[in-house]
């Protein structure tokens, strides 16, 4: 039971709960902009979950300066590889959100409605 109260478990739990809230919002809401908001929350939750893997107990940031000397850096710093992945992922999340909002603008200009039930062109 005591393994469940460490910092990384709490952070991963927060990240996954945010992911589930985002997916729920994308599936149940009718307003187009609320769907894009759900997608943005989903991306943020996933990034929190990935960064929580990189945490080592009682570690510090992976920057070599006066507080961390170069010889014993292997025992003091956190894992830098998932942090590099999340850096890329945040920027790509912004690009995809901007693209989705552009599509919302064009769809609104066609039918003048923000409700997703009124876009039935692809249904048979």
């Amino acid at each position: 039971m005591t393994q469940y109260f460490t910092l990384e478990f709490i952070a991963m739990f927060i990240g996954f709960m945010l992911l589930i809230i985002g997916v729920w919002g994308m599936l149940t809401q009718k307003n187009l902009i609320k769907i894009v908001i759900g997608f943005s929350l989903f991306t943020t939750g996933l990034n929190i979950a990935i960064v929580s893997i990189a945490y080592i107990k009682n570690s510090t940031a992976p920057i070599l300066d006066k507080a961390v000397d170069r010889a014993s850096a292997g025992n003091l710093v956190a894992d830098p590889i998932p942090q590099a992945l999340v850096l890329t992922s945040i920027v790509i999340g912004l690009g995809v959100t901007a693209l989705m909002l552009t599509y919302v603008l064009r769809m609104y200009k066609e039918k003048k409605s923000l409700d997703i039930n009124s876009y039935t062109d692809l249904k048979w």
Binding site: K57, A73, T88, L99, L105
Partner: protein, 233 residues
Amino acid sequence: MIKKGLILLVLVGFVAIISSLLINFKGSEELNPLARHYAEHGAAEVGAANLVSAVVVTYRGFDTLGEVTILFLAAAIVGFFLKVNTRDNEREASLRKTSEILITASTLLIPTIFMLGVYIFMNGHLTPGGGFQGGAVIATGMVLMIMAKPNVKFNHKLLAFLESVSGVGFVVIGVLGVLLAAGFLDNRILPLGNFGSLLSAGAIPIIYVLIGLKVGSELTNILDSLKETQNEK
């Protein structure tokens, strides 16, 4: 009714997968061998004090090329979809004049914000920061300029020129790494220098300057396309 049932089924599936991942999660006590190699030998091989920068630009440089491509594609598609033919004479007269506090404060703040952005990407190999953060700060400075003077016109030719030159320069440095050193985007094509000074870590400052300019001009392009649609009738 069927739709609600299907939504519930998808969510239950998600919760099952996630809980099976959560229960077996145990925090690690020490670094795994690959990260230990990067932490111990990263300063000697790459010469950068910021280990995350060393991983993003040098050890995993190919992923950065993919990210730059995706950003370029997103900016191009947004610019293509939101193309508008403006006749902005009638719009200029109807905009409310912005308040005096905003105009005065922005003339003081905008050069400071640009300088902060340039500082962030020039010192990317020494302190937390780098090209992407610096580019985002520069784009936020442009947003302040748009809000203070609503009918400012950006020079599209200059932005397009900056963006394409930075992109081509990034790929050229990568190919130079293949020709002169060990692999794509290897930073040992320039000498490594003293550890911790500004002109150290080989080609990393140059790569970050190019990435910072590229990201800044791309985000400014997206924001400018969105601003132009406000003027359309």
